[in-house]
């Protein structure tokens, strides 16, 4: 079957029942999305499908034939990081790092839709995500920084 991930078409020979998470990691070696629970209850596997955050561990690839999947690897690179990635690096908002890609994808989706999301809206949107290390406050700080970076970039574009 065909799967579009990070703007590349892949031809895959996988059981269509297989959840996206295992295809991303085992077939495509895109390891940002993590297995935390396999039940859609921790957020570590979160990626975007047509810009919307979904739990890839409960999304069989059969659903994704005509859709566009975006993972953290697709947002930017070490050389050219996306604003959300720059912000998390600057704030050093990771301890073990396991929950972070999921948090970043959901935050990125929110800021794309609502560039001026309030602090409360940012916090509320992260409700499906768990962090065991307790790095919540840094994550929120990083997302607020990403918000400023994205707004500054937009203002720059308009000049």
């Amino acid at each position: 079957m065909k799967l579009n991930v990070n703007d590349r078409q892949h031809d895959l020979d996988v059981d269509p029942r297989t959840p996206l998470l295992y295809v991303l990691r085992d077939e495509l070696k895109l390891n940002a999305a993590k297995f935390g629970c396999g039940l859609g209850q921790c957020g570590a596997c979160t990626v975007l499908v047509d810009g919307e955050p979904v739990f890839s561990c409960v999304t069989p690839v059969s659903l994704l034939a005509e859709r566009k999947v975006t993972t953290l690897e697709g947002l930017g690179t070490a050389a050219e990081p996306a604003p959300i990635q720059r912000a998390f690096i600057e704030v050093q908002a990771a301890q073990c790092g396991y929950c972070i890609p999921g948090m970043m994808m959901r935050a990125h989706a929110l800021l794309q839709k609502q560039p001026q999301a309030s602090d409360a809206e940012i916090q509320a949107c992260l409700e499906p995500h768990l962090c065991r290390c307790g790095t919540h406050m840094r994550i929120l700080r990083a997302i607020r920084l990403a918000r400023s970076l994205m707004m500054a970039a937009q203002a720059g574009d308009r000049r």
Binding site: D15, P16, R17, T18, P19, L21, Y22, F35, C37, G38, L39, G40, Q41, V49, D50, E52, P53, V54, F55, C57, V58, T59, P60, V61, S62, L63, R67, E127, P128
Partner: protein, 478 residues
């Protein structure tokens, strides 16, 4: 001349008839207003005996007053919640003891009249969106307790929005006609053919509990069909299943399962309360056990004798142990697919079920935190796929500071045709029932009612099944 006098007599007759009609209609509207009752100075809170207030709190919990009379994000009992009806939107009133925007100036007699007959202190008729057709059964003593409870709440000065109803429904006197047709005033009369527990249950279920307000079908004038009580109805985009012989539950309810469900918000063989029922179960949690028991006994009597479970249920119940005893004893999507083995089915719905649902719904985690075996689900066995779509689209949300079952929603990732394929597969695979009609239509309605479905599911069910170690910290504050 003869022609002219006939014409004149005819004109006079028509004139007299018109005058009589006008007087009649005028009298009708004039009469369709009860007497106003004098406003009072609100009694001080400490003038009410504390056990009376406590009794009122219990009744208010059974009656779910806080759910309708509190706006999302608003102050408790201060009204403002929109109640959609087929004719327009009615806004719940402020029932705090505020003297200007609430019921602070209502005497106990005025309060009792409102509950018994649906009349406001100033004599205007209340719309039957307020289920006084049930509350009319409440006894004088219990009305006194409810009055004591409400008058000792915090007064909040906020006026709810005006109702949005078209002419002539925005003229309250029309309710006089509705009451003539449909209201049978109480109070409750015990049925001597049944014992005390049954009667207590009947009093609570039919009265303050107003279960029939959701669980009974309504006629075109939005009155409950009195010959089809508890045959099933709807509430804000959710199906309220039949609680009588027409119940679609694959395993028939009985007094024990009803009692467990009402107290804890779930039952092993039926699932978790969601939608508007989650809020009901939430409130019932703090109600004394003997009241819940009585309601369960009465409801079990309505639902009738247990029928033998369907072949599908027996099959599934045997297979249910598979997840618990297999070597791959984990509950997650990876284990579900590897457990399934074999080649994928050609049925799109089967593929989706295995990849998205089976990890929880066939896993070994016990109810309520594990997903229910779908052979037991009323959502799949019910008359329409409405509730199934609501749950699949929007999931069961987490609740703050309380352990609750959580399910992700799939609205973002499943297209309409994929959801329809999944629904049809679940119906065919897990039940022996006829395929659903108008599946696409149910799905469109479920997508549209997004806001209602999401808002209603939160706060979710508070669960303290016996044997679980934790009790939520905020339990003591209730």
């Amino acid at each position: 001349m003869p022609g002219r006098s006939i014409a004149r007599r005819f004109a006079i007759s028509v004139g007299v008839v018109c005058l009589v009609l006008a007087l009649g209609i005028g009298t009708f509207f004039f009469a369709a207003q009860a007497p106003s009752m004098d406003p009072i100075v609100p009694p001080p809170a400490n003038s009410f005996a504390s056990d009376l207030v406590q009794r009122g709190a219990t009744l208010a919990a059974i009656g779910n007053c806080d759910v309708c009379h509190t706006a999302p994000g608003g102050r408790e009992f201060a009204g403002g919640r929109a109640l959609p009806t087929p004719f327009g939107t009615v806004y719940a009133t402020n029932i705090t003891p505020d003297t200007q925007s609430g019921i602070g100036t209502w005497s106990q007699a005025a309060f009792k009249r409102a509950m018994r007959s649906g009349v406001r202190r100033d004599g205007a008729y209340l719309y039957p969106a307020f289920p006084y057709d049930h509350f009319t059964l409440i006894s004088d003593e219990d009305n006194a307790a409810l009055y004591a409870f409400l008058m000792t709440r915090a007064a909040v000065r906020v006026t709810p929005p005006a109702n949005e109803l078209p002419f002539p429904l925005n003229m309250r006197p029309v309710v006089f006609g509705w009451n003539l047709l449909f209201l049978r005033t109480g109070p409750f009369r015990a049925d001597t053919a049944h014992d005390e527990t049954w009667n207590r249950g009947a009093y609570l279920v039919e009265g303050i509990g107003h279960c029939g307000a959701c669980h009974t079908p309504r006629n075109f004038l939005t009155a409950e069909k009195s010959d089809r009580r508890l045959s099933g109805g709807e509430s804000e985009g959710w199906t309220a299943y039949a609680l009588n012989d027409a119940s679609p539950a694959p395993v028939r309810w009985n007094a024990e399962t009803f009692e467990h469900y009402l107290r804890f918000g779930f039952d092993q063989s039926h699932g978790t309360a969601r939608g508007p029922m989650a809020e009901v179960a939430n409130d019932l949690h703090a109600v004394p056990q003997q009241d819940i028991h009585a309601m369960a006994v009465y409801l079990a009597a309505q639902i009738g004798e247990a029928k033998p479970p369907s072949a599908k249920v027996e099959q599934q119940q045997a297979g249910q142990n598979r997840g618990k005893t297999s070597a791959a004893n984990s509950a997650d999507s990876q284990a579900a697919v590897s457990r399934a083995g074999g080649a994928p089915s050609s049925d799109e719905g089967a593929i989706i079920y295995l990849g998205a649902c089976a990890g929880c719904h066939e896993g070994p985690r016990a109810m309520p935190f594990g997903g229910i075996d779908l052979a037991l689900s009323s959502g799949v066995a019910g008359p329409t796929p409405t509730n199934l779509f609501n749950v699949v689209l929007y999931g069961l949300p987490a609740a703050e500071a309380v352990r609750v079952p959580v399910m992700p929603g799939f609205a973002a990732v499943m297209t309409d045709s994929q959801l329809v394929a999944l629904a049809r597969y679940l119906r065919a695979h897990f039940t022996d029932k006829e395929p659903w009609q108008d599946v696409e239509q149910s799905l469109r309605a479920a997508r549209r009612s997004a806001q209602a479905a999401i808002v209603r599911s939160a706060p979710s069910v508070r669960l303290n099944p016996p044997g679980t170690a934790q009790r939520p910290q905020n339990e003591a504050q209730r």
